[in-house]
């Protein structure tokens, strides 16, 4: 089904710089503001023709590269991704088994141990890149799983309404009330986690509720709009409607949700690993901090052991969050700085 987007007044002026854009079919991504606040006719709903799509994309990219928050955040995340991918090839030693290094040596920029060594003579840089790789694994898998569950629950509850909504909403609220981290402690204390992937899956399974709740309200308000009713009248099945009519309108929202869940999963995993409940035998950031703490790195001043992992988490997750604000401004013209 086709639906013509109504041009919103203020937005034509905003993209006046892009000459290639046909004026008749101005379309931006859906506004992510809490939906209740904007009257429906203000929101352009769907791009129709190919040129309009291209124009929208061009416009989006234009604002994306002009947005400093997005660029800075993206650079930070990409930098760490690069380090996580090529770092293991640059590391000269095994992170766990190489024990002939000097004991607790400070970082040497021209030597073989760029970030120094632990008291056992292990290479901190090698541990760091392994930890970074596992942080990405946990973030992508854990955040990804949470995003998938949150999306399915949010769509189902918001679109169907009624008893399905009641049940799913109750489930969401119950998990929201629970202190998730303490639940994780209990799970991890009794079930010994075998590796980073199971850890990520457990984290994903408990951190989805807020995403589901946010998506539910978006879906709820979208599903009462004319174009969805029209699709319903034409007899399409509900999953098709959800994916063809509703999902494209919240795609930017889904992406931003994933970024937040990605960061959250990394932070949760780091904390869980720090209390010794992470995957046994793998070197993670939390594990590094725990080892440093247990071996009195504070007292002995081995700062190179505990500073890098936490700093990396701070910059990586902070970068991801920062990117998120930038994206929000790109997708949502109202938030752009005047």
């Amino acid at each position: 089904m086709k639906k013509r987007a109504k041009p919103a007044a203020g937005e034509v002026a905003a993209i006046g710089t892009d000459a290639a854009l046909p004026k008749s079919s101005v379309s931006t991504e859906p506004v992510v503001t809490p939906v209740e606040e904007t009257p429906p006719e203000k929101k352009p709903v769907k791009a129709v023709s190919k040129t309009a799509n291209m124009g929208a994309l061009r416009e989006m990219l234009y604002f994306a590269f002009r947005n400093r928050k997005l660029v800075i955040g993206l650079c930070l995340v990409l930098f760490f991704l690069l380090v996580a991918i090529i770092g293991p090839y640059l590391a000269l030693h095994d992170p766990i088994y190489n024990i002939d290094g000097p004991s607790a040596h400070a970082p040497m920029l021209h030597g073989r141990y760029w970030l120094g060594t632990t008291p056992e003579g292990l290479d901190v840089f090698a541990q760091f890149v392994t930890g970074l790789k596992l942080a990405f694994v946990v973030g992508l898998i854990g955040g990804g799983l949470a995003a998938v569950i949150g999306t399915v629950v949010g769509f189902t509850a918001g679109y169907n309404g009624g008893i399905v909504d009641e049940v799913l909403n109750m489930l969401t609220n119950v998990i929201l009330c629970m202190p998730v981290f303490v639940v994780l402690i209990v799970i991890a204390a009794f079930v010994h986690i075998k590796g980073p992937v199971p850890e990520a899956l457990i984290i994903g399974m408990v951190t989805w509720p807020w995403a589901a709740r946010a998506l539910r309200s978006q879906t709820f308000s979208l599903s009462s709009r004319e174009f969805v009713s029209l699709a319903r009248l034409s007899g399409e099945n509900s999953w098709k409607i959800i994916f063809k009519e509703i999902a494209p309108n919240v795609s930017s929202y889904l992406f931003m949700m994933f970024i937040l869940l990605f960061g959250g999963a990394i932070l949760t995993a780091t904390t869980l690993d720090f209390i010794g409940l992470g995957p046994a035998g793998s070197i993670t950031f939390g594990q590094m901090m725990l080892n440093a703490f247990n071996d009195s790195a504070l007292l002995l001043g081995y700062w190179w052991w505990f500073i890098p992992p936490g700093l990396a988490v701070m910059l990586l997750v902070g970068g991801a969050y920062f990117m998120n604000v930038g994206l929000d401004e790109v997708f949502n013209p109202r938030l752009r700085e005047m």
Partner: protein, 331 residues
């Protein structure tokens, strides 16, 4: 309004029930035998001793009864306020251990949450749509909220306790100090409290400031703000109205964040070896002290649910629409 509270209470009831069930199920139905894990710590060579110990532990866990009965007894002892006995601090009851630890955790959490919430909202609201302030507050807040608590704690401890030696760390009060009602003891307590408090305060602060800043921008861009501006209302007045509207989601946010906030307090305590619930859980994990883990979990759940309920009441009190509903009108 009554409907609202009834729904909330039902949710809390289900949450409590599921939490107790999880707390009971996980040790019982998961692969691996917790009693065997526990006995493995003792490294017993003699088979007979091992069997005897195993049986007595099985009886203590009530593992010799059918499962449904174990579950039933779990609830019964819970309502009697009996959470079992600590293995590593035998024979101290778990409730006593929690009673000793909880004041320290609450003493950290409550001031840190309230002050950071207040300061974060103020600063976030100030920063919104003000170029210079926004460009400095926003990155700092994001860095703070993306910081793992334990790392921030490690850095503060390293700087202030080891390099500059301004604050002591470890324990709730100095080693030679006797707990008593005196200024000296109070200051000693305060000195040990300050660093963990600061850690929590700063990390929480980042989150609140960002939330408020984003909410205010949404509000300032909404129709009523534009309308007010078009009428010629001063900027300050528009901001005031925006703040009032933006603060409501922040109150709800407080309830949603309680779990995460608590997790922060637990790990921060571990770094400072502050004698609260976090250190208690940490020691219990190391020693496989299952009753302590289970009991602390239950108490934390109860605490979080109570806190949630308090936030609900506060929400009703500050939201005029909900207040009108309370007084009998239709909101």
């Amino acid at each position: 309004m009554r409907r609202y509270f009834v729904r909330k209470l039902i949710t809390y009831g289900i949450t409590f029930f599921s939490a107790v069930t999880i707390d009971w199920t996980i040790p019982h139905l998961m692969p691996g035998n917790p009693i065997l894990n526990l006995l493995a710590n003792f490294r017993i060579q003699n088979q007979e001793t091992f069997n005897n110990l195993y049986n007595s532990y099985a009886r203590a866990f009530r593992a010799d009864l059918p499962l449904w009965k174990q579950y039933y007894y779990f609830w019964v002892s819970l309502f009697h306020g009996d959470l079992g006995i600590s293995f590593s601090n035998f024979p101290t009851p778990v409730t006593l251990l929690i009673q000793r630890a909880a004041p320290y955790t609450l003493g950290l959490l409550i001031p840190a949450i309230l002050l950071s919430w207040y300061a974060g909202n103020k600063v976030g609201a100030m920063a919104a749509r003000r170029k210079v302030l926004d460009n400095s507050v926003l990155p700092v807040s994001y860095a703070l909220t993306a910081t793992p608590y334990q790392w921030f704690a490690l850095v503060l401890a390293w700087l202030f306790a080891f390099i500059w030696q301004i604050f002591p760390i470890g324990r709730g009060y100095g080693i030679g100090v006797i707990p008593q009602w005196s200024w000296f003891f109070f200051f000693d307590l305060l000195k040990h409290w300050f660093l963990p408090f600061m850690t929590l305060f700063l990390v929480y602060f980042g989150g609140w400031a960002i939330g408020m800043r984003n909410m205010i921008i949404y509000e300032l861009e909404s129709d009523y703000s534009h309308y007010l501006e078009a009428l010629g209302a001063p900027r300050r007045l528009v901001r005031k109205y925006a703040f009032r509207n933006a603060v409501l989601p922040q109150v709800t946010g407080l309830a949603l964040q309680l779990g995460a906030v608590l997790a922060g307090a637990l790990v921060t305590e571990i770094v400072f070896t502050y004698p609260g619930l976090g250190s208690l859980i940490y020691r219990a994990i190391i020693n496989n002290d299952y009753f302590v883990i289970q009991g602390t979990f239950l108490l934390i759940i109860i605490g979080v649910l109570i806190a949630n309920f308090v936030v609900d009441i506060v929400y009703v009190l500050i939201d005029p629409r909900a207040r009108i509903g309370m007084q009998g009108g239709e909101a």
